[in-house]
């Protein structure tokens, strides 16, 4: 779906007063969503700031990076940042590729257990993941995987939702492509990689963006499976910063650090995020 400007009931003639009022209302709402982020950035660049007090000085004098220096000196923030980047990158790449493979198999394959496995996958998709957090920890601790990248990345290395998404994408490709590839002597892997996968790249991109954002922002699970500071992801680490009661400057520099990467992805990939929502209705 594209959020296109069609079929609104307001086909009435342009009314400048009405339009102005609408713009004012929209700006007020925008102020509530953007304002806190602007203040966050401003405070993170302010010298020696213990509390955020209103009225706030939006452009601090002088502008300083000392809060960020303090953050990196006092906490493992750099390490958390590395962990988050690494985990999100591997999780996204892995999840998208395995979803693409499995989606292909469920769309085209003819093998034993297809229906059973597919139904089981469907079952997982509707389960609330928070209900499974404690048992997941129990299993991981028995496997000795607490505080490991395996635990952080593992569940993200496959995506049931992604498998469904990609299955749909593959189903929309005519079988003629497969037949042509087979006649040309391609095996299954070549058919998948060379002929069909290039046609589902948009779906894979949508999935990749959803997975990246979901992984980067996830909190509960990575918090549970890590107890050592140097294994935490950025969000989990920032959670500890928030609870530690430091200065506002330190807190906001952490918030900026957690915010910027998602903002960047959002700006670059907005189209895919919006499409992802309309496709799934659930966060990836």
């Amino acid at each position: 779906m594209s959020v296109s400007e069609t079929s609104s009931p307001s086909v009435e003639k342009r009314n400048p007063i009405r339009e102005t009022l609408i713009y004012i209302a929209m700006s007020v709402v925008a102020l509530t969503t953007v304002g806190p982020f602007l203040i966050m950035i401003s405070v993170s660049l302010t010298e020696n700031i213990r509390f955020i007090t209103f009225p706030v000085e939006l452009i601090p004098t002088p502008i300083t990076l000392e809060n960020f220096q303090l953050l990196f000196a006092r906490t493992d923030a750099l390490r958390w940042l590395f962990n988050s980047v690494y985990v999100a990158f591997v999780s996204t790449l892995g999840g998208v590729i395995t979803s693409s493979m499995a989606g292909f198999a469920f769309a085209r394959g003819d093998f034993w257990g297809k229906t059973v496995i597919f139904t089981l996958f469907l079952g997982i998709l509707i389960m609330p993941d928070t209900a499974l957090i404690v048992p997941q920890f129990v299993v991981l601790s028995q496997l000795g995987l607490v505080n490991s990248y395996t635990a952080l990345i593992g569940p993200w290395f496959a995506s049931i939702f992604g498998t469904f998404l990609l299955r749909q994408a593959y189903l929309s490709i005519p079988r003629d492509y497969d037949d042509a590839a087979t006649i040309d002597g391609a095996n299954l892997w070549q058919t998948w990689w060379r002929v069909l996968m290039p046609q589902v790249v948009p779906a894979m991109a949508t999935l990749a963006v959803l997975r990246f954002m979901g992984n980067w922002n996830s909190f509960f699970y990575p918090m549970i499976v890590t107890s050592k500071s140097d294994m935490r992801t950025l969000t989990v680490g920032l959670g500890t910063v928030a609870r530690s009661g430091g200065d506002a400057g330190l807190d906001m520099s952490g918030a900026v650090l957690g915010f910027l990467p998602t903002l960047l992805v959002f700006i670059l990939m907005q189209r895919y995020i919006i499409r992802g929502i309309s496709l799934s209705g659930v966060k990836g």
Partner: protein, 305 residues
């Protein structure tokens, strides 16, 4: 006798089927293994541990269904369930109203509309840790704290927000609302834009205008979207955790202890992994029932044409 016996034929059929199946398994093997390790095995262990009393270290004792009996008299759990209901009852109507209101507001062919939508979506792409860092400061009880200052402009005295027993949960509701409304706005917009404009034209020919246009065209046609949103949002609301964990730790005096927080706390604060597993089962059943009732009551996805 006939050439091939039935069993021989079955065997050759079996082999042919196997030969056809085998090449496909490598494509699903990673997904299946991950599913086994991170979902199926934990599911089984959830049931196994629900009848044990264990801290995962030294003690491990079979207690049968004791945990489920304990639940009946566990006052903290009952409080947590009430809190979860309280959160959901405050959050869902507000969320539906605000996200629909904003969707209607931006569903116009005006210049810059896409930019506004993107700005409304901003809180939703932000992690709960970042939101909590910001709002812990914004909801400061100081009279010159951001929110207290702003309400002071309209003459409301400073409030204690997160550290007040009665205001902590509404504060969490506010943060969750702020975070989520842009997301649900996008879903509403999809629903609004799926309404054919001919229906509005037809209604206008029939003399409907303004509010009546919405009453007889927009609202009935948005019913499936509404049902979808309510079900999804409720399931999300029942699972609220991150902001509570970071901002209030379930307090003050258990005022924000939800069922999920209680499960977390039993396991990781008190080392009662058996009881926490039993609570996980309870929680799963609750979510399932809520989702089923809502889907049925709201006639989810019913064709309205």
């Amino acid at each position: 006798m006939a050439a091939a016996s039935p069993s021989q034929r079955a065997t050759s059929q079996f082999l042919r089927r196997l030969r056809r199946s085998l090449p496909w398994y490598p494509f699903i093997i990673v997904n299946t293994v991950i599913f086994l390790v991170f979902n199926l095995v934990p599911w089984i262990s959830m049931f196994r541990y629900s009848v044990l009393k264990t801290d995962l270290l030294s003690t491990r004792e079979f207690v049968g269904l004791d945990h489920f009996v304990t639940m009946l008299t566990d006052a903290k759990l009952h409080k947590a369930m009430l809190n979860t209901v309280w959160f959901t009852v405050m959050y869902i109507p507000l969320l539906v109203a605000v996200s629909l209101g904003v969707a209607v507001l931006v569903n116009r062919p005006l210049r810059g509309m896409k930019a506004f939508r993107a700005l409304y979506f901003l809180p939703n792409i932000t992690s709960v840790a970042v939101l909590s860092l910001i709002f812990r400061r914004f909801l400061s009880p100081r009279p010159d704290g951001p929110i207290n200052f702003l309400i002071g402009l309209v003459g409301i005295p400073p409030q204690k927000w997160l550290i007040d027993v009665n205001q902590a949960m509404p504060s969490i509701v506010g943060i969750s609302l702020w975070e989520a409304f842009g997301y649900f706005m996008v879903i509403w917009l999809a629903g609004l834009q799926a309404i054919p404009s001919e229906l509005y034209d037809a209604a206008k020919v029939d003399g409907a205008n303004g509010w009546r246009l919405h009453r007889y065209v927009t609202i009935p046609l948005l019913r499936p979207t509404a049902a979808f949103i309510i079900v999804i949002a409720t399931i999300g609301a029942l699972q609220v955790f991150g902001s509570i964990f970071i901002l209030t730790g379930g307090g003050p005096v258990n005022a924000t202890t939800t069922v999920v927080y209680q499960i977390y706390s039993e396991a990781f604060n008190f080392g009662r992994f058996g009881y926490a597993s039993a609570l996980s089962i309870l929680f799963f059943v609750i979510i399932l029932i809520v989702a089923l009732i809502q889907s049925r009551y709201l006639r989810f996805g019913e064709d309205i044409y």
